[in-house]
C-alpha cells in the first residue's frame, strides 16, 4: 500500500468525493420527484444509487479493491448471511396464510 504513489491516490479520492456528492444530489432529486416516477422506478433507483455510493466508499476509500483474500472472504460471509437473513425473514412472513398473520 505504501509503495503506491500517494499523490495519485489523493487525486482519486477527490474524484470519488465529487461523484459521491453528485449521486447524493441525484438521489434526493429522484425522491422529490418520486410521485411522478412511481415507486416501481424510484425505489430501485434510490437504492441503486446507494449501492453505487456504497461500492465507491468500500471498494475505493476503504481499499477493499486491493485488500487481501482473507478479508474479502470474511466480508463475503457476513454479506451472504445478511442477505439470506432478509430473504428468509421475508419468505417466512409471506408464507403465513392471510388470516394467521399477527402483524396488523
Amino acid at each position: 500500500m505504501a509503495e503506491i504513489n500517494i499523490k495519485s491516490e489523493i487525486q482519486k479520492y477527490f474524484k470519488i468525493f465529487i461523484i459521491l456528492i453528485v449521486l447524493m444530489g441525484v438521489a434526493v432529486g429522484v425522491s422529490s420527484f418520486k410521485l411522478n416516477l412511481g415507486w416501481a422506478v424510484s425505489i430501485p433507483l434510490i437504492l441503486g444509487i446507494a449501492c453505487v455510493m456504497g461500492y465507491l466508499v468500500s471498494w475505493q476509500l476503504m481499499h477493499l479493491s486491493s485488500e487481501k483474500r482473507t478479508i474479502l472472504v470474511i466480508l463475503a460471509l457476513a454479506t451472504t448471511f445478511f442477505i439470506s437473513m432478509i430473504l428468509l425473514f421475508l419468505a417466512a412472513h409471506f408464507s403465513i396464510p392471510e388470516g394467521a398473520k399477527y402483524v396488523s
Binding site: L77, A78, L88, A91, P97, S104
Partner: protein, 576 residues
C-alpha cells in the same frame, strides 16, 4: 521477530492477578468465575426439581431463605418458578458453558497450541473478561429487583417479555454486556489463530481444538449482533414504549395496551433464533475439540479422518446460520419455507455424524488408557449421539408439531449440553489441570465423580423423553399435574428429582478434588505427563509470561502417535 519471550519486569499484585493481560491469567479468571456461575445455575435447577418432584411442599433447608416474595413459608410461588427457569437457562448457557469453553479453555490453551506468546490483542482480552463479569453481575442483581429476575424463559418471547417485570430489562442489559464481551473475544481468537501461529503451523497441522475454536469464533462474531439488535428493540419496547414486537389490539388483563401497535412478534423470534441456533453449536463445537484432543492422546494413535472432521466442522459452521426457523415450525409459517428449513436442518446433522463417527472409528485398534479425562471424553460420544439423534424428530416439521415445547425438547438439548458438553468440560479440566498447576488431580476421586455422574445424568434426562412423548409441556410450574395426558408419566418427576439430587452429590468429589489438588495434588514429574504431541505440553509448567523461551517450530501434524520407527510412542509437533 527474535525477541526474548520472557518478560522480566516485576508486576504489582493488581497487574498480575486482577488486571492481567496475560491470556493464561484471563483464562483462569474466566474459568473460576464461570464455574461459580455453573454451580449457581445448577442450584437454581435443584430448586425447580424440588417443586416438580414435590409440588407445593416447602423446600427443605434453603426454603426459608428465599424470601416471602419467592417462596412464602418455603413453598415456591409460580412466579419464582418462572424466574428460576429463565435464569437457569440463561446462566448455564451464557455465564457458564460458553465462558468456560471459550473464555477459559480457549484463552488458556489456544495460544499455547499455536506456539504463540499470547493472544493478538491482550488488552482487548482483559476488557472482554471484565465486561463479561459486568454482564454476570447484572444478571445476578436482577433477582433482587421488584418482581425478581427475568421470568419469560431464556428465549424472552414477546409479547410476554415486553410487558414482564423489571428483571427482564436487567436481562437485556446483561445480555448486551455479554454479547459485547463475546464479540471482542471472537475478534481476538480469529486474529490470533490466523496471525500468531508459529512457523510450520499450517492450517492442517492445527490441533482439532484450535479448529473448533476458530469456527466457534466465527459463529460468535456473525451470529450475536442480530440478538444485540433484538435486545435493543425489546429494551425500547419496555422502556420507551415502542411497538417493535407488539401487534395492534393487544389486551392485557382486560385492558387494551396503550401502544402504537404495528409490531411483529415473529421478528423477535427470527432475530433471537438467528443467534440462538449458531449458539448451540458454540456450546458443542469446542467440547468436540476438547474430546478430540483427549481421545487422540489416550488411544496412542492418530485421529481417524482428521481432514474429514475439519471440513465437517467448517461446513457445520456455515450451515448453522440457515437452519434457525426449525425452532419456529409452529408459528404458522407455510409448508414451503418449513420444508426449506427442514432440509437445511437434516443436512446439518451430517457433519455432526461425521465428526462423531471419526472419533468412534479412531478408537479401533488404539492402546486405550482409561484415565479420568478419557472416561469423560468417551462418555461424551454416546451421550452426544443420543442428544443428536433425539434432535431429528424435532428437526422434522411433522413430528415437531407433537413434540415442540414438551419435555422431549428438554431431554434432547440437555443430553447434548449436560452429559455432552459438561462432560467434555470435566474432561478438559482433569486433562489440562497438570499443565496449569503442576499437579495431578486425584484419580480415585475422579472415578467417584465420573461413574455416578454418568449414571444419574441418564436417570435424570432419559425419562424426560417419555414425558415429552406423552405431551407434557415444558415450563409448567406444577409439572403438568392439571393435564389428563400427563397423569401416567407424572410419577417420573419424583424419580428425576431424586436422581438430580444424587447427581448433585456426585459433583462433591469433583469440587473437593479440584480445590484439594491445587495445593496437595501429586506433583507431575515432567512438563508433559500425558505424553502428548501438541505444543501446550512443550512449555514449562506452568507456562511463564510469553509462554515459550524461543518461538517453537512445527514440523509435523498434531497427532503423530505410534509413528513407525520412532523411539517413543509419540512424536511432538515441534520435534524435527
Amino acid at each position: 521477530m527474535a525477541h526474548a519471550y520472557h518478560d522480566s519486569h516485576q508486576q504489582s499484585f493488581w497487574r498480575k492477578y486482577i488486571f492481567s493481560t496475560d491470556h493464561k491469567m484471563i483464562g483462569l479468571q474466566y474459568g473460576i468465575t464461570a464455574l461459580c456461575f455453573l454451580l449457581f445455575g445448577f442450584g437454581l435447577m435443584l430448586l425447580m426439581r424440588w417443586q416438580l418432584g414435590y409440588p407445593g411442599e416447602p423446600i427443605p433447608g434453603v426454603g426459608k431463605f428465599l424470601g416471602e416474595n419467592n417462596a412464602p413459608g418455603g413453598i415456591m410461588l409460580p412466579e419464582f418458578y418462572n424466574q428460576l427457569g429463565a435464569m437457569h437457562g440463561t446462566i448455564m448457557v451464557f455465564l457458564g458453558v460458553v465462558p468456560i469453553l471459550v473464555g477459559a479453555f480457549g484463552n488458556y490453551i489456544v495460544p499455547l497450541q499455536l506456539g504463540a506468546p499470547d493472544m493478538a490483542f491482550p488488552k482487548l482480552n482483559m476488557a472482554s473478561y471484565w465486561v463479561f463479569l459486568l454482564g454476570g453481575v447484572t444478571m445476578l442483581v436482577s433477582f433482587f429487583v421488584p418482581g425478581g429476575a427475568a421470568n419469560s424463559g431464556w428465549t424472552s418471547y414477546p409479547p410476554l417479555a415486553d410487558i414482564a417485570t423489571m428483571g427482564q430489562t436487567f436481562w437485556i442489559v446483561g445480555m448486551v454486556f455479554l454479547i459485547t464481551s463475546s464479540l471482542l473475544g471472537a475478534v481476538n481468537f480469529i486474529a490470533t489463530i490466523l496471525q500468531l501461529r508459529t512457523e510450520g503451523m499450517h492450517f492442517m497441522r492445527f490441533p482439532f481444538f484450535v479448529w473448533a475454536q476458530l469456527v466457534t469464533a466465527f459463529l460468535l462474531l456473525l451470529a450475536f449482533p442480530p440478538l444485540e439488535a433484538a435486545g435493543l428493540m425489546q429494551f425500547f419496547d419496555r422502556v420507551f414504549h415502542t411497538s417493535f414486537f407488539l401487534p395492534s389490539g393487544l389486551v392485557v388483563s382486560g385492558e387494551p395496551l396503550q401502544i402504537s401497535g404495528g409490531g411483529s412478534v415473529l421478528l423477535w423470534q427470527h432475530l433471537f433464533w438467528f443467534l440462538a441456533h449458531p449458539e448451540v453449536y458454540v456450546l458443542i463445537v469446542p467440547a468436540m475439540g476438547i474430546v478430540a484432543e483427549i481421545i487422540a492422546n489416550n488411544i496412542r494413535k492418530p485421529l481417524w479422518g482428521y481432514k474429514s472432521m475439519v471440513y465437517s466442522l467448517i461446513f457445520l459452521g456455515f450451515m448453522s446460520f440457515i437452519v434457525w426457523a426449525h425452532h419456529m415450525y409452529l408459528t404458522g409459517m407455510g409448508t414451503t419455507i418449513s420444508a426449506f428449513f427442514q432440509t437445511t436442518t437434516m443436512i446439518i446433522s451430517v457433519p455432526s455424524v461425521i465428526i462423531l463417527t471419526c472419533l468412534f472409528i479412531s478408537l479401533w485398534g488404539g492402546s486405550i488408557r482409561f484415565n479420568t479425562p478419557m472416561l469423560f471424553a468417551l462418555a461424551f460420544l454416546p451421550m452426544f449421539g443420543i442428544g443428536g439423534l433425539t434432535g431429528l424428530p424435532l428437526g422434522l416439521a411433522a413430528p415437531d408439531i407433537h413434540l415442540h415445547d414438551t419435555y422431549y425438547v428438554i431431554g434432547h438439548f440437555h443430553y447434548v449440553v449436560a452429559p455432552g458438553t459438561i462432560f467434555a468440560i470435566f474432561a478438559g479440566i482433569y486433562y489440562w489441570f497438570p499443565k496449569i498447576t503442576g499437579r495431578k488431580m486425584n484419580e480415585t476421586l475422579g472415578q467417584l465423580h465420573f461413574w455416578p455422574s454418568f449414571l444419574f445424568m441418564n436417570c435424570v434426562f432419559m425419562p424426560m423423553f417419555v414425558q415429552g412423548l406423552a405431551g407434557v409441556s415444558r415450563r409448567l410450574y406444577d409439572g403438568g399435574q392439571q393435564y389428563a395426558h400427563a397423569q401416567a408419566v407424572l410419577p417420573l418427576n419424583k424419580m428425576i428429582t431424586v436422581c438430580a439430587f444424587f447427581l448433585a452429590l456426585a459433583q462433591l468429589p469433583f469440587i473437593i478434588n479440584l480445590i484439594w489438588s491445587m495445593f496437595k495434588g501429586e506433583k507431575v514429574k515432567s512438563d508433559n505427563p500425558w505424553e502428548s504431541t501438541t505444543l501446550e505440553w512443550a512449555t514449562p509448567t506452568p507456562p511463564p509470561h510469553g509462554n515459550f523461551a524461543k518461538a517453537p517450530k512445527v514440523f509435523r501434524g498434531p497427532y503423530e502417535y505410534s509413528v513407525p520407527g520412532a523411539s517413543k510412542d509419540f512424536t511432538p509437533q515441534n520435534e524435527s
